[in-house]
Symmetry: C2
Subunit: 477 residues, 2 copies
């Protein structure tokens, strides 16, 4: 493969450039003319569809239903919950004109849909019999990014899912927040092989308008954290200004308790960062659009025919067993070129079929994660492919867990803390609970509180006062 | 069912109000605060997902692949194809501000994505080996409606699918336009039970920027036509300004040949109009989210238990046979209320299970389309449900075809023409091909040319000169 087609920088040497090359060259996405926006190409969209399908299935089982709410929000409506408005307004895109008519009221492109949703919920919900409302949306949202953008990780428009639920009681809302966090964790760990830490956001870092925010955080190989998904308990913060009220079982009117939660294509960005290598992408088998790529190898026309015949048979067997397999029949490329191409695209398992394999009644299987090769007799192709795929899935998560463990350390003094933050990774330290210390630490080290845990800590790493919580600090995307 | 819950006007008496009530009361959609925008509620979105799934499967089989392109288009880019820009600019929403920063260049919300797509295709396509490019997108688009809006039929934001393909030759593009039109026809007729007429749009009515537009048109019971889907041959109209070029098999550079095509949730609007009745929706079984609703009927606690036991067994059998069935176990409503509710929601088949049915070893099936009831022995439940559903599907299309035939008439003179247009429906008449006559007819009768056919005609119904084509005229949504 020509140098300019493959990845030309090493992941360890220039992580940022390596990431951009992997995203562009593997066919996941491309930049568009509007700053911070990208197009998802077929391969990238196929990965998103795999992730979406998995999570959609989980939501269906828990009784959630999909809906679609419109994109444009009147300014008055967006401003109804003051803290929410203040938090989002710096990055809102405003529509001020339609055709050549100036609009009487400016319209915001949804940065998130709480305000649209609650405006309608207040019409739809009358009685406790209408609850819970468990709705979800797959859409795109808009946040004008001023900071450096990065495909899938920080974009001015991104694809995501946003859930908006309404409950009779505070406890029900509380349970929903936790239940969704568990689903996100399953999605991240069991499907995308992204190990995550779980905890609560600080007041400063929580969703603007929430009572509190629960978060899943992952660690990238360059030492920076990524927020993978969040689940917010909104209490009655939205139901009161939007008048989402219901007639309770007690015959009285109550304000409802609500939650919202979301994850975006950023999760795919995190997966690429964690698992990719100098050859390109590495996809976990459970979300790989192509799990097995069959590459025929032949040197003459006669060989070509018998090799292709066998390769097609292997394809049929794998497809029948519901593995996502493809056969690369392209004639204009050499097998070596194809190997590189499919490695770049991160297909978990390569199956080679050559003339010798035809004679010997076997195929060669090559794992993308370890590069390990093995001969597999024809009769065992399906069984062995399944075994290898589930082993690859498990191994990818295991290795990522090891990395996360290695990159999570504790600091007892602020000096130690600063050194560890500089090296990268999560740093566990006590925190007194004051925003003052939180801001100082951010200014002096670039690190945020990524999450708060219930674990005990003695003193605040910054001011030395008694600690209210053990926090995980890190610099982040 | 209380009057205010059910439909309170007759379809024949006030079609427009009837339609609005069906859409709102059956749980399909609701109006939102921004003029012309609506929210799709779970039931409406479930129908859209059924339609989407069907068409997506067709596209997968023909080798099309899904992608996502961003929403915001720089003004310069939108203006690159002059006729296209002129056609769309009166209804474009413009983003002029992000946060408190005025944008240097205004950004359009996509009214359709040709300009975004071709800006990127020109980067991606180098050689004939990259062709054909067969990409499709599921997204929403924005067109600021000045005219009266109507849920699903005319909205300022709507869900749709847009395909954008690139080909080596004019013939390949031509074939693609026809192939897609056939898929749309299958979707409309075989799934949504909407019979359609097929033909070409006049120059005046074609997609702005296309060489020509092929269309599918359906007739509504109030005598107005609806455009159900269109497929455009764009020739090289976009590839030239956007420089979508490729190295041909002949070693020379060529401009590519492109097509685009789309259908929206409007197709669901047409289906509602054609099939609904005074009781509400009537859904064709192949796209009904719920095909069979099981309603238990009991008068005592003991009866309730045995009836529910049997009803659950029926549910299991139907689900196992992959029918989309649900059991309405709600205790707070009477069976009569439930009958009305599920009729309003258009569920094709109701299955009643009462104490007598338990004793006699049967159930009662009631068709939504005809209201016909029949007893079905327990052992035949699955088989008979399948038969009835496929009969309902066939009958719905047959009846709609009859209506279309009845509402398609010919006019030999302009006097006759005007009378027929007033009565509603399609009117076939000769047309000389001049835009002048087309505009005069529109001004004097309100009717457009909905499509042009290859059928012969003698003289223009307006000017009497020799006819160039036989046209189907109608007033339209």
């Amino acid at each position: 493969m020509a140098k300019e087609i493959g990845i030309t920088v090493r992941k360890e040497e220039n992580f940022s450039e390596w990431y951009a090359q992997v995203v562009l060259k593997s066919g996941i996405a491309d930049y568009f003319a509007v700053k911070g926006t990208i197009a998802l190409k077929p391969y990238g969209y196929a990965i998103w569809e795999m992730v979406k399908k998995r999570f959609d299935l989980m939501l269906r089982r828990t009784g959630h239903r999909n809906v679609y709410f419109p994109t444009l929000i009147p300014e008055k409506l967006l401003a109804k919950e003051a803290e929410h408005f203040k938090g989002f307004v710096p990055e809102v895109f405003w529509v001020t004109r339609a055709g050549d008519r100036e609009l009487g009221e400016e319209l915001a492109l949804r940065p998130t849909s709480e305000t649209i949703v609650y405006a309608l919920y207040s019409k739809w919900i009358k009685s406790w019999r209408d609850l819970p409302v468990l709705y979800n949306m797959w859409n795109s949202v808009f946040r004008a990014e001023i900071k450096a953008t990065k495909p899938l990780v920080r974009n001015s428009e991104f694809l995501w899912q946003e859930g908006h639920t309404v409950h009779e009681s505070e406890e029900d809302a509380e349970r929903e927040v936790r239940r969704i966090l568990r689903l996100y964790r399953r999605l991240a760990e069991e499907y995308l092989a992204i190990p995550v830490l779980e905890g609560r956001k600080s007041e400063r870092e929580k969703f603007k308008g929430a009572v509190y925010t629960m978060t899943l955080e992952a660690m990238m190989p360059d030492g920076k954290a990524i927020q993978v998904a969040t689940s917010h308990n909104l209490g009655q913060n939205f139901s009161i200004p939007f008048e989402v009220r219901f007639l309770g079982r007690d015959g009285k009117e109550h304000y409802a308790w609500t939650t919202s939660w979301g994850f975006s294509w950023r999760m795919i960005g995190a997966m690429i960062m964690i698992h990719g290598d100098d050859k390109g992408l590495k996809l976990p088998p459970r979300i790989a659009p192509i799990q097995c790529i069959i590459v025929p190898i032949s040197y003459s026309k006669r060989e070509r025919e018998e090799v292709l015949k066998k390769a097609r048979k292997v394809l049929r067997m794998l497809s029948k067993a519901r593995l996502r397999a493809e056969l690369d029949e392209r004639e204009e490329y050499t097998p070596g070129w194809k190997f590189n191409d499919w490695e770049l695209k991160g297909v978990p398992l390569r199956i080679e079929v050559g003339p010798r394999d035809v004679r010997e009644g076997c195929v060669v299987m090559v794992r993308r994660d370890t590069g390990r090769k093995e001969k597999v007799p024809d009769g065992e192709v399906v069984g062995r492919a399944k075994e290898l795929l589930s082993d690859i899935q498990r191994e990818m998560l295991r290795r990522a867990r090891e990395m996360l463990r290695r990159m999570t350390r504790s600091a007892d003094s602020y000096e130690e803390f600063k050194g560890l933050i500089k090296e990268g990774g999560f740093v566990k330290a006590g925190w007194c609970g004051s925003e003052e210390c939180e801001v100082k630490i951010k200014e002096e080290t670039g690190a945020d509180i990524r999450l708060l845990t219930d674990e005990k800590a003695k003193t605040c790493v910054y001011c030395g006062r008694p600690a209210k919580a053990l926090a995980y600090f890190a610099r982040a995307y």
